[in-house]
């Protein structure tokens, strides 16, 4: 069955759900501007749902008409508490403060469907709250009451709404993760969360067995599974549709083309009936980049399967979809300030998979945050590892510059700078990244204007004035400090 057929069926089944939740129709928030030291602009709440910018489809725009560059840190526990018993409670306030302090405006809002366990650990990782109520009768495999898949857990959706609202009040967008492939058994991973999945036939009172036989995974091709998923999606829409600061992510690194596109279409069609529509995105798993670009999604996140160069030399983006480059899909645990800047000047939005709250549990196999050849004591799974703070700062600095330029007119122009990292509105303004500092030649032959010159330290964000330069040639700029640098030219 193809996604269109599925769509008709699932839309029909969810029509019985309330047309709108009690939470819909809330008034838009009033902007609360907070001064961010060292940054040029203060966070401000969204002025309308995001949609692809009509003039520069590398970016979204809200009601303001301006292009919005999205960047920020996200962490696995930023929605549901996850961990080994006794379950630690995530410090949401400290996390939001960190984002604001670093000038971030975007997070993925992580979702886990299993009550316990995870593919990466043999310890009993717990998740709370969950979308479905655990009413019983009977006991699920984790020793707690079975799920009733007809009853959603208000605590889950209340938290979703309250945190996204709070993020909104701090000028932060949230990509709501609709599904999670790590809630199921992962191919090759020795540890199995399927035992605690609500769609496991042994875990719910509804006699619903959503498993593709013997795989520990949800059978996403089955009609009854999609019906259950459609109800869940509809409940999410009811919870947050009225908010401007949301996007949707179909699934974290899972699914398949047909199901992915079905989810996208479903969200589009359901939201079309509601007050607002929000961008839906795909993160690369089995699909090729070209398939993702051909999909009905508004944004995509490229995975490492597309090539290692996405870590070191992300290609200039043409804007066929909005690109959100996410370290999660490239490194897992990892990232560099240079990557953040290269992505920005090549027309991508960015996300950092941040070990702000470590991913819990003792690994049951080789993991991407632990020992690697040459670095036996490596442990990136903690917020204070030296890897993270430079990236957090760098992505905040990219946003600081993004807010100062007319991003709607800026396009990657590798041809205009000898370093090949140049985002420009030729003749008006140029952002050039120098991964190794020293000097760069910029092609200003197409203009006779005079430009103010400014340098930014890519990590510290410090600004050094660089005088002015006249167009009409190819000036060779020298960096006034050691190491990597960002050059900003703006027509006087």
């Amino acid at each position: 069955m193809h996604r269109r057929e599925f769509l008709k069926k699932t839309v029909g089944s969810t029509a019985a759900f309330s047309a709108c939740s009690s939470l819909s129709g809330r008034p838009a928030p009033i902007g609360i501007l907070q001064q961010v030291p060292g940054y040029a602009a203060s966070p401000a709440p969204a002025k309308g749902p995001l949609r692809v910018h009509p003039d520069n489809p590398r970016y979204f725009t809200d009601g303001s008409g301006k292009a919005i560059f999205l960047t920020g840190a996200h962490t696995w526990a930023n929605f549901q508490d996850i961990g080994i018993a006794p379950l630690p409670r995530f410090d949401w306030r400290a996390y939001i403060d960190m984002m604001v302090k670093h000038n971030h405006n975007f997070m993925r809002f992580w979702h886990w469907l299993q009550a316990a366990y995870a593919p990466w650990t043999d310890e009993k990782m717990l998740v709370d709250p969950l979308p479905y109520l655990r009413t019983g009768p009977g006991t699920a495999k984790d020793g707690l009451p079975k799920f009733d898949l007809t009853k959603f857990n208000p605590a889950y959706f209340d938290r979703m709404r309250s945190r996204i609202t709070d993020a909104r009040d701090h000028g932060i967008y949230a990509a709501v993760q609709l599904f999670q492939s790590f809630s199921e058994k992962k191919g090759g991973a020795p540890c199995d969360p399927w035992v605690a999945h609500p769609y496991n036939g042994a875990n719910n009172i509804n006699g619903f067995d959503g498993e593709k036989p013997g795989t520990g995974m949800v059978d996403i091709d089955r009609c009854d599974v999609r019906e259950a998923q459609g109800k869940y999606l509809r409940r999410i829409i009811d919870a947050v549709n009225d908010l401007d600061n949301i996007l949707y992510e179909v699934i974290n690194e899972g699914g398949n083309k047909d199901w992915d596109w079905w989810v996208v279409d479903f969200m589009h069609e359901q939201e079309a009936k509601m007050g607002k529509t929000h961008p839906v995105g795909l993160t690369q798993n089995g699909e090729s980049v070209e398939q993702m670009r051909a999909s009905p999604a508004e944004w995509i996140s490229i995975g490492i399967a597309a090539g290692q160069f996405w870590k070191t030399d992300p290609p200039a983006w043409d804007g066929k979809k909005v690109s959100v480059a996410d370290t999660d899909h490239l490194w897992g645990h990892g990232g560099t300030p240079s990557w953040a800047w290269k992505c920005f000047v090549r027309g991508h939005n960015t996300l950092l998979m941040d070990s702000w709250d470590p991913i819990p549990g003792r690994p049951c196999g080789e993991e991407n945050w632990a020992a690697r050849p040459g670095y036996a004591s490596r442990d990136l799974n903690r917020r204070d590892h030296w890897t993270w703070e430079p990236v957090r700062k760098a992505i905040g600095n990219t946003r600081a510059l993004a807010q100062r330029v007319n991003l709607a007119a800026m396009v990657p122009h590798d041809d205009l700078a000898t370093t090949k990292y140049c985002l420009a509105s030729p003749g008006v303004e140029y952002i050039v990244y120098l991964p190794e500092g020293d000097e760069v030649t910029v092609d200003l032959t197409g203009t006779s204007a005079t430009f103010g010159v400014e340098w930014m330290h890519p990590v510290e964000g410090t600004i050094t004035a660089g005088g002015s330069v006249k167009g009409g040639g190819k000036p060779n700029f020298a960096v006034p400090f050691p190491g990597a640098a960002t050059l900003y030219l703006r027509r006087s």
């Binding site: 290692q308 870590k311 070191t312 990892g334 560099t336 240079s338 690697r372 050849p373 040459g374 670095y375 036996a376 004591s377 490596r378 030296w386 890897t387 430079p390 000898t418 991964p435 190794e436 500092g437 020293d438 000097e439 010159v453 340098w455 660089g466 005088g467 330069v469 000036p475 060779n476 700029f477 020298a478 960096v479 006034p480 400090f481 050691p482 050059l487």
Partner: protein, 496 residues
């Protein structure tokens, strides 16, 4: 006139006149004894004097070798006043010992000795900077254009050649090679700009008692095609060679940033031919940035070459070197004033030797036009012409660190292998030893398919030189390494 004709004529001319020239080096020849040098903290290797003149290594022609049979990786700082004092009067002595100490402190093993022929002025400045000592005696009668006695081009200045020898010897005793720059047409003559050192040049007709006019009519440059000019130059070269030929730690740079192909090659062949009649033969090199292209230099009789700024991406991505000649990249010919630590490492891993044009002693004089060490777009207060500018110390340190690693590896068997590392900076003896540079740190995938068994892994910080052990890794496939510190890094993996 073709260079071969000119060569024959000038060799005849100076052989006849050689007896009249004082022989400074008589009785002064001695082999530098191999004595262990001082320990260099953090590097673990002490410089040792050369064990014989350099010659191209028979097994790895990217490098020279001395009598030890080991390849010698050359790297070091050089500065314009390394041999002659230069500046405004009163000229202050250059702190040569302090400079040597700096080279040793930084683990350098090679420098250049700049030779300025003019008594006064430079093409970069309208200031009346002076040079001392000079190769020719100023005997008079009569005054030259600078108000001092005219030159006698038949008499060489003992003080100059004594210094040339003593500094070469002192460097050699510290394990440091000296590259003697024979000619500097671009810096001793007028070079396109507004300032003109020709009024201070000894070949200016008004400046010598010999009635010798070496000028190409009205150009303020030496006429390199004239036989009598070449004869004069040959006599000078002969004197230089007589002075230092017995020393092992000598190389020659025929001409800083080139004359023209015919003359350049004539200089190279002259030195080769004359040294063939002497005790020792030393490598002679050509450097780019002038009239010759890298391809022409590679086709020349020179033993080594230094690519120029116009020869390709030698600043940011120096190409892997095939060893057709020994390559010594010099920031002087690539930036002028400039250089980065990353360049030092990339050059090393691509099979080049390296020099840093170091303003240890600033180039004197107020610039008379745009110069490459001053203001540039984006950096109006730029002044690279001082030793303490933040540009320099990281490059000095990085070069010393490249040498520290060069001494620890089996350099003879190492070749650039871009294809073996995802960063494409890899010097390797596949199966045995790998050096990989990561300009932006983070991680690198190295193809260890040729390795059977395990390799020991360590990391070096490219500037600080600190070593971090990285355990061991099994070969047989492609391995992804993670850097245990922030920023650029060097990976060294080797058997046992």
């Amino acid at each position: 006139m073709q260079r071969r004709d000119c060569l024959a004529r000038t060799v005849r001319a100076i052989v006849g006149g050689a007896a009249a020239l004082p022989t400074l080096v008589a009785g002064a020849r001695r082999l530098v004894q191999a004595i262990p040098g001082p320990e260099i903290p953090g590097r673990g290797f002490a410089p040792a004097p050369a064990r014989g003149p350099l010659k191209v290594h028979p097994a790895n022609s990217r490098y020279f070798t001395d009598g030890s049979g080991q390849p010698v990786f050359l790297t070091g700082s050089h500065t314009w006043a390394g041999l002659q004092e230069m500046g405004f009067p009163p000229l202050r002595p250059f702190a040569w010992r302090e400079f040597l100490d700096m080279l040793l402190d930084h683990n350098h093993n090679c420098t250049k000795l700049w030779i300025w022929l003019q008594a006064e002025g430079g093409p970069w400045t309208d200031g009346k900077i002076q040079f001392d000592p000079l190769p020719y005696m100023r005997t008079g009668p009569g005054l030259a254009m600078d108000g001092k006695p005219k030159f006698d081009l038949t008499k060489f200045n003992q003080a100059f050649f004594q210094r040339l020898r003593s500094r070469s010897v002192e460097a050699g005793e510290r394990g440091i090679y000296v590259c003697i720059q024979l000619f500097l047409p671009g810096a001793s003559e007028k070079r396109g700009g507004v300032c003109d050192p020709w009024p201070g040049h000894p070949y200016n007709l008004r400046n010598n008692i010999n009635g010798f006019n070496g000028e190409r009519g009205g150009t303020s440059t030496v006429d390199l095609d004239r036989p009598e000019v070449r004869a004069m130059q040959a006599a000078y070269m002969r004197k230089v060679i007589d002075t230092v030929n017995d020393l092992d730690n000598v190389l020659y740079e025929a001409v800083g940033e080139g004359g023209r192909r015919d003359w350049d090659w004539w200089v190279v062949e002259f030195v080769h031919d004359y040294e063939a009649s002497k005790g020792k033969k030393h490598p002679v090199g050509l450097t780019g940035g002038g009239a010759e292209s890298l391809q022409e230099m590679l086709a020349s009789p020179a033993d080594w070459v230094g690519a120029g700024w116009n020869d390709g991406p030698f600043k940011t991505d120096p190409p892997a070197w095939d060893g057709r000649k020994v390559s010594i990249l010099d920031t002087d010919h690539i930036w002028g004033h400039g250089g980065t630590a990353s360049w030092a490492w990339k050059s090393f891993l691509r099979g080049h030797n390296t020099w840093l044009m170091d303003p240890w002693m600033p180039l004197p004089g107020h610039p008379c036009g745009e110069v490459n060490w001053m203001a540039r777009p984006g950096f109006s207060s730029r002044d690279l012409n001082r030793r303490e500018h933040w540009t320099w110390e990281p490059v000095r340190m990085a070069m010393g660190n490249t040498r520290a690693l060069a001494l620890r590896i089996n350099l003879m068997s190492m070749e650039p292998h871009d294809e073996l590392a995802s960063t494409r900076y890899c010097l390797a003896n596949p199966g045995w030893e790998y050096l990989v540079y990561l300009p932006e740190g983070d991680e690198v995938t190295v193809d260890l398919s040729a390795v059977s068994g395990d390799l020991a892994v360590e990391w070096m910080h490219p500037v600080e030189g600190t070593i971090v052990r990285g355990g061991s890794v099994s070969g047989g496939g492609k391995v992804g390494f993670a850097v245990p510190f922030g920023g650029a890094a060097i990976l060294h993996a080797r058997k046992g």
